[in-house]
Each structure stands twice: as C-alpha cells, then as structure tokens.
Symmetry: C2
Subunit: 415 residues, 2 copies
DNA sequence: ATGGTTATCCAAAAAAGTTTCATAATGGGC
DNA sequence: GCCCATTATGAAACTTTTTTGGATAACCAT
C-alpha cells in the first residue's frame, strides 16, 4: 500500500490504465440507460451500444473496447442486448453488430422514508425504475424499535413485490426528519423517540449493505432534481407543506449540509410562528384544535383543508393562502440566498393545485431581485423515498466506477 | 479528435498514464509550497522533496519519478532547491539527495479590485505571496474607460514593484461590485457607469491572459477562506460593512453563483432599509447628510465613525451597534440558510474592533439553531483583491494540472 | 583515506494499448 | 438460389510506459 499524500492525485502503473478504461466504458453505458430515470417505458434504443460505438465514444481502440466489454460482461454489469431494429436511412448492409447494454437488472437498490406517521420503502432497479413499493402507517408514539421493525417489514414487502432477493441489494439509503450525523445517528428530530438512535445501524444490520442516512427534505429536493419538477435545475429550493413542514435547497446539484447539518432548515423562531399558523390551518378540519396541545395538534393531517380549498370552499382557500404566505415569509431568506432557478412546492398541499404556489409566488415577487419559477411537485408523498433511492444509486455508482470488479460492497470496505 | 460523450470519462492510451503521473507529481509539489499561502516567511522545508520521496508519495517507481521530474524541470515548473539542512535525528549518512521544489517564481498572477472609489492591483507569485501592490483612488463619477485606465496603471505599477514583466503573467482575475456574467460583462452594479461593459475585455486586451471576473464579495469570502479569518472553514458567511455594504457565502469551499448570479446578495427591500440605516450611521461624521441625495450620501466614508466608536465615543458606538444590528437583521436569513462554521465581518468596520461583530453575534444567537463563530477579518480592505488573486491562482492551477507542457494559456484555448 | 550508506543511472522484462490483417456473418443484387 | 459488398470479430506484431534489479557515483563518519 503506497501512502498517497494529500493532493498527490492518482497515479500508477499500466494497470491503472485498464481501470480508467473500464470505468469510462461503464460510465458510458450506465449513463445511457440511467438517463431515462423514472420514465420507465421509454427505452430509447440509445441505451445499447455496439462495441465499435463504445470504442469511438470512449476514445479507445476497438480491441481494447472488446476486451473491456468482455470483462464487464463476465462480471455481470453488462449484458448482450436485443439487436437494434433496422432503422430506416441507416446502413443495413454488413454483419450485424452485437449490442451491449448496462444490465439494470444486475441488482437493486432500496430507499426508505422514515416519516413521523408512516414508513415507506421503495425498491428500484439500477436504472432507477421503481419495481417495488410498500407503505405502512406508524403511530405517533411508536418507539425507535417499532419504527425500524416497520421499516424492515416494508422493505421485505417491497422486495417481494419486486421479485428480488435481499442478497441482490447493492445499496440502500434512508430519509428521515431531523438532523442525522454522517454515521446515521439522529441528533435532532421531531420524532423524539428517534433521537440518539442510529438509523444506519438499525437498518444496516438487516441489509447486506451499509445504509446511508439523510434528512428527508434534502432527499426530496434531490428527487425533484432527478425526476421531478426541478429536472435539469441544479439550483432549486424545495418547500414542503403538509403533515410535515420543511424546506431544503440544492446548489450545483447537491444539498449542502452546513457545518452543523442544519443548512436550509426553518429556524426555531420562524418555526414557532409557523406552528401558530398551522393551528389556524388545521382548525378548518373541524377538529377542535384550539385546546389541543402542540404535539397532538401537529399530528392532525391538513389534507381535508387542502381538498376543500381545491373544491373552491372560500374559507379553506383563504386558510391555505394565509398559511402559504406565512410559510413563504419564513423561507424567503432561503430563496434569496440560493437564487434558485425553480422553487418546488411539495407535500399534501399539492392536492390544492396552484393555490399555495400562487401565494408563495406573489410574496417572492415582492422580495426577490430575480424571481424563480414556482411549481408544484409531481412526486407527491413519495419525494423523500425517491430521494433515498437517488442517494442509494449515487452510492452504488461510486463503488461501481471506482471498483467494478468487486460486486456489492462489504461493511469492511465501507468502514 | 475522438468524440467524448457525456459521462464517458477519461480514457486513453499509455501516454495518458504519463499525463496522470506528471499531474500527480505537480500536484504534490505545488500543494507543498502553496500550503503556506499568504504566510510569506514560513518556508517549512516541507516544500521540497527528494526524488525518492516524490516516488513514494505519489505511488510510482523511482525511475518514473525521475523521468517526470526531469521533464518538469525542463519545462520550468520545478527547480532544484537548496539541499535540506541536516535535521538532527534524521539519517545523515549516504549520498545527499538533490531536492526538488515547485518554482513559485516561474510566473506570476494578477488580481484587481475595481471598487467604487478605488482601484487596487496585486501581483503574487505562484505560491500566492503578494510581491507587488498598487492602489489608486477613483472619482465617483469616473467612466468605465477611466476606471479601466486606472486599473491598467495600477497593474503596471504593481508589476514594476514586483520586478516582473507582463509576459510572466500566467493568470488574472478581477473583482468588482455588481453582478457579472460568465463572459465578464457587468449586468448590474452600484457603479452605473460600468453596467454593460465587459471587464474581461477591457483588461483582457491589456494582459496576455484572459481575465476572470467575479463579484467582489465572493472574492472576499474566498480570500478569507484562503488566508483570512475563515481559514479551514469551507462553509462561511462574509459580511462587509464599510463604504461598501455587501455579503456573500461559501459552501464546500466555493461561492455559488445562483441561477441569476445573485446568490447571497442583500435583497432590494433590505437594501433600502440599510440605506436609511447608513444615513444615520454617517450622520456622525459631522457632514450634513440629512439633505444629501442617496447617491452622494453613499459616497461618504463612515471610517471616522468607526474610529470614534473604537475610541469609545458613546454616540458613535451606538450608531455602529445600531447599524450592525440592522445589517444582521438583513442577513440573518443568509446565515440560517448556510449554517456556516464562521461569520466573517470585514470592511472599514474592522477598525472598530469587535463592536460590530458583537452586535451581529448577539442577534444571530437569537435566531440561529446553531450559532456560528463571528470573527473580524484580518485582511481589511485587501480582501477582494486577495480573492481575485485566489481566483487567478485557481485558474492557473487548472491549466497547469490539465496541460503542464503548454506554458501560459492562449486566448484561443480559453475560448 | 576508506567503508558504509544512499542517490543516480542503465538495461531487461512486463503490462496495456494500437495498428494491421485475416476471418466470419449478413443483406442485397444478379 | 448464388455471389459479393459491407461490416463485425478476432488474432498477431509493434509501441509506449512502467517496473524490477543491478551497477555506479557521491557524500558522511570513522
């Protein structure tokens, strides 16, 4: 083992060249099939390459490309694809080339959303297509053990629906409320039962791979960037209004943690004001919230208010607009600081259509030097779980490109 | 020319290996000498390596290291260094190895700060040590042509003091108020004469290298990170209080632009409130500001107020605290969003010591979930120009590591 | 002055990639 | 239905770069 100093960069013997070429071929074919993202049906025929095309695209000679492809087929990452249909206008003469594609079925990834009132698990193939999902409600007072048991059940069920074996899991990530440290331990959370517990450990013991843990709002904005309303917008702000109130942002495609992991969080003072506003909002559910203590009041789902607002009921509409305005006031500093291309509004409020987004838009118009687009999320309640899938895929990609000849990742390597 | 597809990554023939090894050696030796940053005198003897040490650190064999080093000495990037002093405790036997170091005198970089009332030019060697500086006042109403002429004069003077030839300039950057596009054209500025002009073109025609243009606050926070109060803090917020009022932030060591280039700017509404507060502040200079129009009022230097506050004059002190509090209110959203490790207070207000920083600190304590450290900048008025130097060095490093065998950079390549 | 120790230099071998050429497979033309 | 043009595939010879191992050179300490 050579000691590689800081800033020494990568260097090496001729075998390093092979690693480079293998990674380049893998990147090409992986990008070709993953670009479709969540759009399942659209197999564009651009996901397969002939060996000659690979050689040209990567910039290596044909024999080398063949060698690399054979090794990767041997490993199971690449597979022979169906021959390309005779495209009109294209040369039809000559021996047909075999086509090679990244094998998106070579494994799967798991994404979990540990929310306050539910646990959601998604299973996706390596192209990011969701092939299994399960969703279980969780009681507000459930313990950390009960919650992780529910998560395990959800994962098992999602795997069953996806027709996959746990051994095929190549990466996993979990999204949850609160601030999680790098090792997965939850430091602060609106689920007090979870504080002090390590989600990474709770789920990691059950899965064959380490579990990456992230804040649910960060996961959601990543999902919106990947396959939602912020597609292609590397700078975005995500505002979540529903049973959970939260925010996050994306800069250059990543969601910065900040020094304490609290970047983009709604600050305590604004949070208290928002709780008051939330009380007014949910009072339209008909439940007598005025006397409820804070914690129980926050457990009430404002969905009926959003639905009423969408139906056009004036009072409900006003309540949604008022809350959205209050929420925009609490997060305008976030938007001004990030200067995003788009602001995505997600959570249960999306059932009210553009009502909340309009209110947020009009406030931002008053305070921003440049107004961002304000759009409603198409991902709904799955955003955080989808973000966990995206995080798991990123994890998988890293190990894939850096070490394509070690299937999976052992706990030892991850240490 | 091979077409390298998106995500295809780098690949190549055996000569690619050489490039890799050359870049690795260069990185090692460059990092060794540049780590000292602005601390000029401290040559730590760790800036030079023997060939054997290079081979070990980079992870290549000795003959290869020797080959690479010879090629780089030939190119002029590396140079034989003074033999290492006989360190006690170290092996003193055997043939002494020649020591090699990055030649920080192989060229120089230029950094310019085009402020509203002054033009400042710095010249630094490739280790980032400032070896020449010049500073000229500029009239408030000066035209873009006059300002760029002043900049050229300042650069020429700084080069003369540094005893360097313009042909030795390997990279250059300019910092200025306002929002500059990627091509260097100023879109919005508090110097209306500069709007619509391209600083890159105005100075680039005069220099042998393209000029990178950046906002002065972004440059300043980079400088604080590089060689100031935010050293080692990759997430930081910079607040500037003086003749110029502004802010910026750093996340993971970079200052994000945002979609319109306005990320981290003080929003218009807060800006108007700050102008009122500024009027109160500078009224303590004794100048009758109450009747002055906005533009002329902003031209008044509040330095005398800061000095009076530092001397302990109660009214001046109160004025500084009041303004600092108002300023903190306008930028608290920035701090909350970034969740920085440190908030750096810079600009003329630093002569008042901790008075402003204390006021800012106490407000942040009320609104932040996690309080950052609040410290006063040691860079003073040079922060933006130092940041320009840092940007120029980054530019230089990119070309150096990607193409070490083409000295300098032609306009054609930069296109 | 001399021996030990370390740096430097040189030659042969190994690894990976490229070029060149022969062979295989298919579709269209006669 | 057969043949040929066309393109993919596969194997051999050559180039570049690195590594390994040994021979030589330079300096410090005795």
């Amino acid at each position: 083992m050579s000691v590689k100093g800081v800033g020494a960069g990568h260097a090496g013997d001729p075998s390093a060249l092979r690693k480079l070429n293998v990674a380049a071929v893998l990147r090409l074919l992986y990008a070709a099939q993953a670009s479709g993202a969540a759009g399942a049906g659209e197999v564009t025929a651009a996901d397969r390459y002939t060996v000659t095309e690979i050689a040209q695209a990567v910039g290596i000679s044909r024999p080398t490309a063949e060698d690399v492809v054979d090794a990767l087929v041997e490993q199971g990452w690449l597979a022979a694809a169906a021959p390309r249909p005779a495209t009109p206008g294209r040369r039809s003469a000559g021996r047909p080339a075999r086509t090679i594609a990244f094998d998106s079925q070579a494994g799967c990834v798991v994404g979990v959303d540990l929310a306050r009132h539910s646990v959601r698990a998604l299973v996706a193939d390596l192209a990011g297509r969701v092939i299994g999902r399960a969703d279980y409600p969780v009681a507000d007072g459930a313990s950390a053990a009960e919650r992780s048991a529910a998560a395990r059940t959800a994962i098992t069920e999602a795997l069953r629906l996806a027709d996959r074996d746990p051994a095929q899991i190549l990466a996993a990530a979990a999204a949850t409320v609160g601030i999680a440290r790098a090792d997965g331990q939850v430091v602060r959370s609106t689920i007090p039962q979870m504080e002090g517990h390590s989600i990474g450990e709770l789920l990691g013991a059950f899965l064959p791979v380490p579990v990456r843990v992230a804040n649910d709002m960060r996961a959601a904005v990543l999902a919106e960037y990947w396959a939602g309303a912020a597609a292609g917008c590397s700078s975005a702000v995500y505002l979540h209004v529903g049973r959970r109130i939260g925010s996050s942002y994306l800069i250059d495609g990543v969601s910065p943690l900040g020094h304490h992991g609290a970047a983009g969080e709604i600050p305590p003072e604004s949070g208290r004001q928002l709780v008051d506003a939330y009380r007014k909002l949910v009072s339209f559910t008909g439940v007598g919230v005025d006397t409820l203590p804070r914690d129980e009041m926050l457990g009430i789902d404002p969905l009926t208010v959003f639905e009423a607002a969408q139906r056009g009921e004036t009072d409900a509409r006003r309540a949604v607009v008022d809350f959205a305005d209050e929420f925009a006031a609490a997060t305008e500093g976030l938007v001004i600081t990030v200067d995003p291309e788009v602001v995505v509004v997600g959570g249960g409020v999306v059932v009210a259509g553009d009502i909340a987004a309009d209110a947020i838009r009009s406030r931002l118009a008053r305070v921003c030097m440049f107004e961002p687009r304000v759009v409603v999320s198409p991902l709904g309640e799955s955003a955080a779980a989808m973000g966990a899938i995206r995080l798991a895929l990123t994890d998988f990609e890293e190990t894939l490109f850096s070490n394509p000849f070690a299937r999976g990742r052992t706990a030892e390597e991850a240490g």
